[in-house]
């Protein structure tokens, strides 16, 4: 095993800021993007359901 303890793991050999700073932003963005895409699809679905002539802007 590479790490002797949990705090050893989180310290990343002194590179905690860089490693976790890189991974945290990557994870956050990859959680937000699918949610935005899903919302876009649901919105398109709702708009398609509305009667013709009522659709607003694209």
């Amino acid at each position: 095993m590479t790490w002797s303890s949990a705090s050893d793991f989180f310290a990343m050999g002194g590179y905690a800021l860089y490693v976790w700073g890189a991974y945290a932003v990557c994870l956050a963005l990859m959680l937000i993007e699918p949610l935005m895409a899903r919302r876009q699809k649901q919105q398109a679905f709702r708009e398609a359901r509305r009667p013709s002539g009522e659709h607003g802007d694209d």
Binding site: Y18, V19, G21, Y23, C26, E33, A48, R49
Partner: protein, 250 residues
């Protein structure tokens, strides 16, 4: 000519694409999560510490896959934009539009993680060298594409303009790839080469490849979802969308 066009467009019918995406997406999400967890496990608990860079090198497991995918997505976007433009294939233009935000996202991730890796390794967050500068241009190409399609209301004209922009920008991809060879840059050379044995430990390589596949599954799933949204918007008045959303025929 007409028969080929017909066959192409039938095969790429938005209604069929929509159903295919619905079938594939749960599997793609499952694969993305499983592969990402496996990549993180191998990357953080199996792969050893790097002799020269210490633990900061572990950023490679997201940096390189994101950079690879951002470039492949750009080429795919240019391909589908060109197909949509030349063959008038509806789904192809929608795919090009759906790819852009994900490509921009991975470009940003590669820049961000590269910066967080550059600081401890080179002592600077950013440097205007050939690799970094040409790669920053890739982000601008993606953002330019997104700005262009949102500025043009007419769908067909927007698709055409975006196709021209994307095809011109494709020249940047080989420039990015070969920049580390053509110019004397701070950025290290290619991590994986087709002609030479990998310079890294097998477990490091494994973690990177697992993460690459995880990112791929993610990219497909999210692009499919966005393409479905575009198909619903553009084909709102067709029978298949009406049937799908449960709207009465008029």
């Amino acid at each position: 000519m007409s028969t080929t066009t017909l066959r192409w467009s039938t095969f790429a019918a938005p209604s069929r694409f929509y159903r295919l995406a619905d079938t594939l997406n749960p599997w793609l999400w499952g694969a993305a999560v499983v592969l990402a967890v496996a990549a993180l496990y191998v990357g953080f608990f199996v792969a050893p510490v790097d002799a020269t860079q210490g633990n900061s090198y572990r950023i490679i497991f997201i940096h390189v896959p994101a950079a690879w995918i951002s470039m492949v997505i750009y080429v795919a976007m240019a391909f589908w934009a060109a197909v949509g433009w030349m063959l008038n294939a509806r789904m192809a233009s929608m795919l090009a539009r759906a790819l852009a935000p994900t490509g921009a996202l991975f470009t940003f991730i590669a820049l961000w993680t590269g910066s967080f890796w550059g600081k401890p390794t080179w002592g600077t967050w950013w440097v205007w060298d050939a690799r970094l500068t040409s790669y920053l241009i890739l982000l601008f190409l993606y953002l330019g594409f997104i700005a262009l399609i949102s500025a043009i209301d007419d769908v067909v004209r927007g698709d055409k303009a975006a196709a021209v922009l994307t095809l011109v920008g494709v020249v940047n991809i080989p420039i990015i790839y070969f920049s580390v060879r053509w110019w004397n840059t701070l950025h290290q050379g290619a991590t994986i080469s087709m002609t030479a044995a990998p310079k890294m430990a097998h477990t490091m390589l494994l973690a990177m490849l697992l993460m690459t596949f995880a990112f791929w599954a993610y990219a497909f799933a999210v692009v499919f979802t966005r393409a479905q949204a575009l198909a619903l918007q553009r084909e709102r008045d067709t029978d298949w969308v009406r049937a799908l959303v449960g709207k009465e025929m008029q």
